[in-house]
Structures are given as C-alpha cells and as structure tokens.
Symmetry: C2
Subunit: 186 residues, 2 copies
Amino acid sequence: MAKRTGALELAVLGLLHDSPMHGYELRKQVNTLLGWGRILSYGSLYPCLKTLTKAGYIAAAPTPDARGKRNRIVYELTAEGKERFTTLIEESGPRAWEDDIFDIRFAFFSQTTSPTRVRILEGRRSRLEERLEGVRQSAAKGRQRADKYTAELRRHGLESVEREVRWLSDLIDQERASSADPREEK
Amino acid sequence: MAKRTGALELAVLGLLHDSPMHGYELRKQVNTLLGWGRILSYGSLYPCLKTLTKAGYIAAAPTPDARGKRNRIVYELTAEGKERFTTLIEESGPRAWEDDIFDIRFAFFSQTTSPTRVRILEGRRSRLEERLEGVRQSAAKGRQRADKYTAELRRHGLESVEREVRWLSDLIDQERASSADPREEK
DNA sequence: GTTAGCATGTAAGGAGTTACATGATTTT
DNA sequence: AAAATCATGTAACTCCTTACATGCTAAC
C-alpha cells in the first residue's frame, strides 16, 4: 500500500513538514516551489492526499477555526509521515536523481543534515556526469543526425548540463566550507 | 485510434523521415537526439511502432538485404506518415510547448520552413515568459517558503528559464536574418 | 567459448493529466 | 449582482517505465 514514490508525495510531505496546510494552499506552494513554473493539477493532488491519509502519513487536523470557514481540510504530518519524509529524501534508488525529484529534495534541504546534503548533491552531480559521458561517447563513435539544428540542440543541451554540474560543485564546496566552519552550521 | 500525440511518436516519425530504420537503431538515435541523456526503453518503443503501423503512418519495408540478417524489421514512413509528421510539428495545442516536445520539434527543424520555425520559436518563448511572469507574481504577493535553499533553487530555476529565453531570441533573430538574406535560405 | 552488443517483444503498473462537476466566499 | 478566486473532488485516459522473456551474432 502507498506505493507512491513520485515527486508529488515528497513535495506534499515536505510542505506539511513546515506547517499544516489545506489542499488548495499546497497546490499554490508546489507551483512556486521550484521556480520553473510547473502547474500541479487538482486531479493529482487530491487523490494523492487521500492515498497519503490512508497510508497514515498525513491526517486531517481538527479544525481550530470554529468560524464557518467551510469544508477546508487542513492536513498535518503524522509521526510516520515524518519518518517517511526522511526515508524519501535520503533514498538513493535510481529514481532519486531525476530532474524534478532532485529539485524537490533540494527544496527541503533545510530539513536535512549537512552530510546528507553533500551526499545528495554529489549523487546528482555524478548522475549528470554519466549523462554527459554517454552523450559524448555516442557523439564520438555513433552514426548520428548531423544537421544544423540537431547540432545546435545538442550543444545547448550539453551546455545546460555542464552549467548545472558547475552549480552543484559550487554548492558542494559551500556546504563543506560551512560545515567545517563552526560559526555557520551547528 | 492512434491517439498518441506524445514525444515518442514525433521522434519516431521524424527519424524515419530522414531514412528507414529498425527499432534498435531508432532507440539509439532517440537517446542521443536531444543531448541531455534521455534513455528510451524498449517497453515504449516497440508498442509505439506497432501502434504507428496500425495507424498506417509507418510500414515495414521489404528487406532488401536477402542475407540472413535475421528478423530485424526496417520501418519506413508512408505518405500518411509524412502528413502526420507535418501536422504534429506544426501543431500549437497546449502540449506542443512542453520541454521535451519542444526539443524534439526543434530537432527536426530542417524539415520545416522558415516561417514555421519562427512561429514555433516564438511560441516557446512566450510560454516561457508566461512561466517567468507567474513565478514572479506569486513571489511578489504570495506567502512562500523562504529558506536559503528554496531561494537558491528558485533563483537557479529562474536563471535557467531566462537563459533559454535569450537563446530562443537569438535563434529567432538568426532565422529572420537568414530568411531575409537570399544567399542562405531557399 | 564466453562476454558484449544486437534485436524484438510482452505484462503490469506508475505517476501523473484533462475535463468535468460542484459549491462557498470575497472583491469589484 | 457579477466576476474572481477559494475549495474539494471524480472518471477516464495518456504516455511511459520496469521487469521480464527470448534468441542471434560479433569480438576477444
């Protein structure tokens, strides 16, 4: 039960880890969380909330606002939900390094420890480096389409990935520096 | 029948538009087409080839190599397939501007006309600008998570989108310049 | 002669989306 | 009193992945 291991579950658990919230609010938060304009549909959010409730990771909070605020359902994280969140954010299975999953894990970095952060950043970086390597190898040996536009697309794609690798490297350096420096972390 | 309007159909039709190919080869081409290391599984490719065959967009070519090259099935585009390809690459429905679909349309730009290219590039650009606008607006008014890592993620996300907008603008300029210049296009 | 790569496929399921359906509350 | 936005939900569907299953062929 509760086989969900997708981006959405992690985003919901993470946001509820900050503070209790109702569905509509969760949606708005998810939509601005990542900074690239993803729009989450109700059709995935509400079924997800149901599943997570059944699984015991979240629960409808007793509504403290007695005024007729109608039927908005405020969810909060249970103890199992907190555990689940930790498991998901620390997991290193194959799906863990995909673009959107990584972004969401990153968004909740403040709820992890510095060594975990470094491990996640390095995991993501080596995954990207594998990609670069793969594309370069097949470019070197394989027969490929070679028109102007494909070449431009590939160039731009590689450049974006390289840029992200540099970004990650900077973050890893910062993380190491600040965990070595007693004034900042801990 | 043949409801596929996804990234994969367009990639397959586009590659077969270049030249006939068998499944295994198609997969390798798709994997390196975009320059960002996407790996296509057989589990989607072969069913897709079947669907497209049934729909009459592609057909198994009579194998010209009589030598026992075993059961590799070389597919080629039919006349309907060429039409279908044109329809898909020129379509401007909501799904047409998504990240991966756009990339694939771009990859086959050499099979389109310059006005089509400009229209597609501008469509993508305005979609990205809408995203930027949306994220900025909710950043301006909405209550949001505001920790160090979320902020960094949002900054990096916005920067990436802005970069892509500049890239598109450059391409649009180039496209206009070269279609105005009789030496290049046409 | 065994490892690596070529080649084709199926079954089950995951993680969402779109479109629909409904109604309350606040703003103009 | 109309329009916008808040708020929750369902049914049907899409596109793709994972894991499995099979066998050929070339290189070392």
